[in-house]
Symmetry: C2
Subunit: 199 residues, 2 copies
Amino acid sequence: MTSTLILASSSEVRARLLRNAGLVIETATARVDEEAVRRALTAEEATPRDVADTLAEMKARRISDRYPGKLVLGCDQVLDCRGTIFAKPETPDQAESQLRALSDRTHRLLSAAVVLKDGEPLWRHVGEVRLTMRRISESYLPDYVARNWESIRHSVGAYKLEEEGVRLFSRIEGDYFTILGLPLIELLTWLGIRGDIAT
Amino acid sequence: MTSTLILASSSEVRARLLRNAGLVIETATARVDEEAVRRALTAEEATPRDVADTLAEMKARRISDRYPGKLVLGCDQVLDCRGTIFAKPETPDQAESQLRALSDRTHRLLSAAVVLKDGEPLWRHVGEVRLTMRRISESYLPDYVARNWESIRHSVGAYKLEEEGVRLFSRIEGDYFTILGLPLIELLTWLGIRGDIAT
């Protein structure tokens, strides 16, 4: 079967979401120095939303040349807490301080998706979710990070809601697909209107 | 390790949600003629919310005697579309007519959870999610049901959002755990306040 989409990402979660929805996809890894781009854009006072959108497009663009005539999907997720953008933690200590900064506060996750075809952007969307963390106790925090480090090191904000991280939250507003890093409903709606998938 | 909770349900999804959150649980199947209870309560003009809450408590109660001193969790989910309660479809034809009735409309999923200890209710919550289906085409509907029957026959409303069913929706308001049948965040908050789990 011909694939509907090329996913310009090595994210297993995003690939799984698309495949679970019944799409046939291929994946291709886009090499982008995300941290450098994020820093450069932030220095230019880009909003968190613009940062996510720009990175998503950049990733799709890196791949698009290799797949003429194909839809190429780039994605990015940004965590914004009171104007500060969080990246993936590099050490357990960094994970602890990220979680301390998020504790007892509401933050936003912005999940951007951009579809290119032959280098032209055909569709883009930034989904937004608001998550409120409870006050995390100092006795729990180091244990949480130690137990979950191998998993949370791959997550901005140092938590995974689909694992023990759910315990950190008191409130979630927005859809789960956007939390996982892909505004899936909006993407499927667009693919359905185009006639690329049956709905 | 001693278990924190006895889950009075054979639902694999609910057991997985609790275990993913790091809880140690046991499961025990509660035999309740749900369809008969639903019919009886509806005849007495109980609200969909009351039906879900009553069934959740009933399931926990069936198990509670066997586990003195333990927290026993009962759960139920009710789908309400314009005052009509939907059950699990018994045949593919029934699944098709359920989906036809939900197409192009917003419905509610009510996920009730009740915790008993020694037969006394200690905590209860009914979570609510609102889901809007797009207009499902008559060409897609029978294919969807045929492809997914073995999975959707276990779901009220004949869809699974974590599978191809996500294609049926244009909007989701509320949290994913409640969609899957358990108001997990609220339950974990309560267990944390009690000191039964670390947070």
